[in-house]
């Protein structure tokens, strides 16, 4: 494993205003993830793990502290720069799959290539990923014709098609039964081991966390 930190946060904090109350979702979170690591972030609901996920994915900005991804400071990025960052640096896997319902599985993947101005072709390497995910024969189907497990595999393929530096997964098995959960988690582990893909997975499930190479815990907005 390379020792260069792929993800590095220092004293990261995020405060929301909910009515008249300040909610400290993150309160000085320090995290380091190395390139090629599969790390799970485990914590109860409200521990701040989803906020951490959103900040690492540049979907929201921290109130204070620093975030570096592959050595790049995310502070003061404009909206356009954040969008550019998401195109190339991160791939997202969400609990609710978040596939575009009007497009087929294949087009859900291709639209991400299109947005990133990449050729709309699948490389042999990506074809290999599709083989690992086992969804080659479901590519022409729309999400509503796919099971939850299949949708999540398509979402993983979509997250990986542009070869991002980091795969961010937020409760990827939250909507799946135990059999499909095991399959998806096994795939993530496989992708990490076979391709060296850096993965940070948010979960509240200890069993899911056990698939990662390393688990860290969050409580009250801090890494403990």
């Amino acid at each position: 494993m390379n020792e260069t930190p792929m993800i590095e946060t220092r004293e990261l904090s995020k405060t929301y205003r909910a009515g008249d109350v300040d909610v400290h979702a993150l309160a000085g979170a320090n995290l380091e993830v190395l390139k090629g690591e599969f790390v799970s972030v485990v914590g109860a609901s409200g521990s701040g793990k989803s906020t951490l996920f959103n900040i690492l994915g540049t979907l929201t900005t921290p109130t204070s502290g620093t975030v570096r991804i592959d050595g790049r400071d995310l502070k003061d990025l404009s909206n356009a720069e954040r969008a550019e960052f998401r195109k190339t640096m991160v791939g997202f896997v969400f609990q609710k799959y978040n596939l575009l319902p009007t497009l087929s599985a294949e087009d859900n993947i291709r639209i991400v290539q299109y947005i990133a101005n990449r050729a709309l072709e699948f490389t042999p390497e990506f074809e290999g990923i599709l083989d690992i995910l086992g969804i080659r024969d479901r590519m022409k189907h729309k999400p509503r014709a796919l099971s939850g497990g299949q949708q999540q595999r398509v979402a993983i393929a979509r997250a990986l098609v542009n070869r991002p530096r980091i795969l961010l997964a937020d409760e990827p098995t939250g909507n799946l039964d135990s059999k499909n959960s095991a399959a998806v988690l096994g795939l993530l582990r496989d992708l990490n081991q076979r391709l060296g893909q850096t993965i940070l997975m948010i979960t509240h499930d200890q069993e899911a966390a056990s698939y990662a190479g390393r688990s860290i815990h969050m409580r009250d907005g801090k890494i403990v």
Partner: protein, 364 residues
């Protein structure tokens, strides 16, 4: 790929797409029908005026090209005009407006036939008695009239004596003296038609008449028919402007509603696109393309619907309204529809662009 997304989005919500297209189509149809009727009615009037066979027309003082006058000119003017050099023929008509776009014209059939070459009767023939009237084919079709039928107009019962091929003077004609009497305006005329003994003399006669009859609008038939255009009729031009304004507002509201609900419905999808790196420009481009496609489809359907309104008018009110297909207005109407639609997508577009990705992704 973006076009595929646009098409799939529109296809995914067919009812909303169809309603949006239809609403834009109605906007386009509204414009094209109004323009078509304006052109058609003016052209039909011009065609009928040309069918008179006259070279010059004299109208009463204070009238405009479209003003229907009753009979304020003395019929002695006809004798005066006939005596002018190079005037081969002159005849007068009286016009009594009816309800709507209709009017009844009194004429001296012999004089008028000499000037115009005569009516071509499709059914029946000329007046035989004072209560006889002749009507053109469109009026007969609209009122379902045949020779021998009785019809009540201006408190008088008429018998249809003949149905003639359209294109000459008016749609309903009766004897001049009978109409003058019914109008209690004996020996008075609404218009005088003049024929020169040679086309070379028309300008000379015109100058002579204008000099001798100051205050009377006197036109060559060529002038008169060229004045029957939308640009010459200020009121019509303004009316078309108002309808176009209304159409733009309708298009704006329709697209605003459609795209606003689309943006709301697709909050989560917009969040997904943002999460995978779509820029604000991409989101806006997506909405603009959807709107553009709706507008183009609406324009095409609107043009097709215009043929339906044309058919409807030809069969329901052929004598009252004539609708032409004004091809060069197609891109204008399309442009207006697209403009209204693009205005309508501005606010929803800004809303979509400003949407917070994390909130959008948690939207149910």
């Amino acid at each position: 790929m973006i076009n595929k997304l646009v098409l799939s989005n529109l296809g995914h919500r067919p009812v909303r797409t169809i309603l949006s297209v239809l609403a834009i189509a109605v906007e386009v149809t509204m414009i094209l029908t109004l323009v078509g009727v304006s052109y058609g009615t003016l052209d039909a009037t011009a065609r009928r005026a040309r069918g008179v066979g006259a070279d010059i027309m004299i109208r009463p003082p204070g009238t405009s090209i479209l003003t229907l006058s009753t009979a304020p000119m003395s019929d002695q003017l006809v004798d005066f005009v006939r005596k002018q050099p190079h005037v081969a023929m002159a005849t007068g008509t009286a016009i009594q407006p009816l309800s709507g776009f209709d009017s009844i014209t009194g004429l001296d059939l012999d004089q008028f036939s000499k000037m115009s070459g005569g009516f071509h009767f499709l059914e029946g023939g000329p007046f035989e008695a004072d209560q006889d009237m002749i009507v053109d084919e469109y009026y007969a079709r609209e009122k379902n009239l045949h020779v021998g039928d009785k019809i009540q107009l201006i408190n008088h019962q008429w018998r249809v004596a003949g149905i003639y091929e359209s294109g000459k003077l008016a749609r309903i004609c009766v004897r001049l003296s009978v109409l003058q009497e019914l109008m209690t305006n004996q020996h008075h005329l609404s218009q005088i038609y003049v024929k020169a003994d040679s086309p070379d003399q028309i300008q000379g006669i015109l100058s002579e008449l204008r000099a001798k009859m100051p205050g009377y609008p006197i036109y060559t038939m060529e002038e008169f028919t060229s004045l029957l255009s939308i640009s010459s009729v200020g009121m019509l031009r303004d009316f078309i402007g108002v309808v176009i304004g209304v159409a733009v507002i309708v298009g704006f509201i329709v697209v605003f509603m459609a795209m606003y609900t689309a943006v709301l419905e697709r909050t989560r999808e917009i969040g997904i696109l943002k999460a995978v790196g779509a820029s604000s420009y991409f989101i806006l481009k997506l909405l603009l393309r959807e709107t553009l496609l709706l507008s183009v489809l609406g324009t095409v359907v609107g043009i097709l619907l215009t043929y339906a309104t044309q058919w409807l008018m030809q069969h329901a009110v052929p004598a009252s309204l004539t609708q032409e297909t004004v091809y060069w207005w197609w891109p204008i109407a399309g442009g207006i529809a697209i403009l209204g639609a693009l205005l309508g997508v501005v606010v929803p577009g800004i809303k979509a662009v400003k949407q917070d990705a994390t909130e959008a992704l948690s939207y149910e």
